[in-house]
């Protein structure tokens, strides 16, 4: 009896012991026959597998993507912008020679420079201390429970 054979194959199928040829016999049986009710679940699985195998990639793969072109165009745009700004700003705010070197003594100049650098680093540190709050983001995302 054919059904007998199918049942024996199914038992081995569940154990992962069937060969590809045997699985083909099962597939052909389930895709082409009306099956008894108690084998319906197997039929669904084989129909599903068969259906899924027909899924196709809709887009043709590109191996020379236009992405590259976009990247270079943005580089060019930035370059043009930067050069443009550089040249125009240069004429409007030309440095005045007389404004430089107002401090003649070397000691005072060193002191002034030190003061300025200390101020910059202090402001930097103050700004950075506020960034601690960013850690809170990571803490909260970990609390989100994922439901599948």
């Amino acid at each position: 009896m054919e059904l007998d054979k199918i049942e024996r194959l199914l038992a081995r199928y569940e154990e992962g012991e069937t060969s590809l040829a045997e699985e083909k016999i099962l597939r052909n049986y389930f895709l082409n026959n009306d099956v008894p009710e108690y084998l319906r679940s197997y039929q669904m699985i084989f129909t599903y597998a068969n259906h899924q195998a027909q899924e196709k990639l809709r887009k043709e793969p590109e191996i020379n993507p236009r992405k590259n072109w976009y990247a270079w165009s943005s580089v060019a745009a930035i370059l043009i912008l930067a050069l443009g700004l550089f040249f125009f700003n240069d004429t409007s705010s030309r440095l005045n020679e007389n404004d430089l070197g107002t401090i003649t003594e070397e000691e005072v100049a060193l002191e002034k420079a030190r003061e300025t650098l200390a101020m910059v680093s202090q402001i930097m540190n103050e700004g950075k201390s506020d960034l601690v709050y960013l850690k809170e983001f990571n803490k909260t995302t970990n609390k989100i429970i994922q439901i599948d």
């Binding site: 590809l20 084998l39 597998a49 793969p61 590109e62 599948d148």
Partner: protein
């Protein structure tokens, strides 16, 4: 290697790569992007591709690794929630509705399996690779693959029966 020779190698495999990516990433867009990315990676390594005995298995391994990486990266964590809408282009409306319904059940059941079982079920029952090739793609022993496959097949059928009372009615 020329573009055309490369495409000739990739063309028979690309749908399989896409289906594996779709199984793992759920969303069609993500799967398409993943396939495209993997093909690009292979193209960049085209000079070494000749040295692989089984290019198809290699392409599948790269796809598998890429998709697992995508799943791990936080960026794609929301993809798991994306609902699948399967549409088939042929067959009449009535059978289409029935088929779609069953397909959605099964897709959901398989989506709930562990990643490894998902992939092995995909490679064996849908793509019909032999155990040797699956072992190569999954980088696992054949015996371990048989065990995982058996677990996947049993789990799918069990849940199908449990959830929808199929086979008992």
């Amino acid at each position: 290697m020329k573009e055309s020779t490369f495409l000739n190698i990739i063309n028979p495999v690309k749908d399989k790569m896409y289906r594996l990516a779709l199984r793992l990433l759920t969303s069609r867009e993500a799967a398409e992007d993943a396939t495209q990315e993997v093909i690009l990676k292979l193209w960049n390594r085209k000079n070494r591709i000749k040295h692989y005995a089984n290019v198809e298995a290699f392409a599948m391994t790269v796809t598998r690794n890429y998709c697992l990486d995508q799943l791990k990266s936080k960026q794609n964590n929301n993809l798991r929630i994306v609902h699948q809408n399967y549409e088939s282009s042929n067959s009449s409306l009535q059978t289409e509705i029935e088929v779609n319904d069953e397909i959605q059940w099964l897709s959901r059941i398989i989506a709930g399996l562990p990643e490894q079982q998902k992939m092995i079920f995909q490679l064996r029952d849908i793509e019909q690779y032999d155990f040797e090739e699956i072992a190569e793609i999954m980088e696992m022993k054949q015996t371990a693959i048989r065990v995982a496959l058996s677990r996947a097949r049993k789990a799918i059928r069990e849940q199908l029966i449990k959830k929808h009372n199929y086979g008992i009615r």
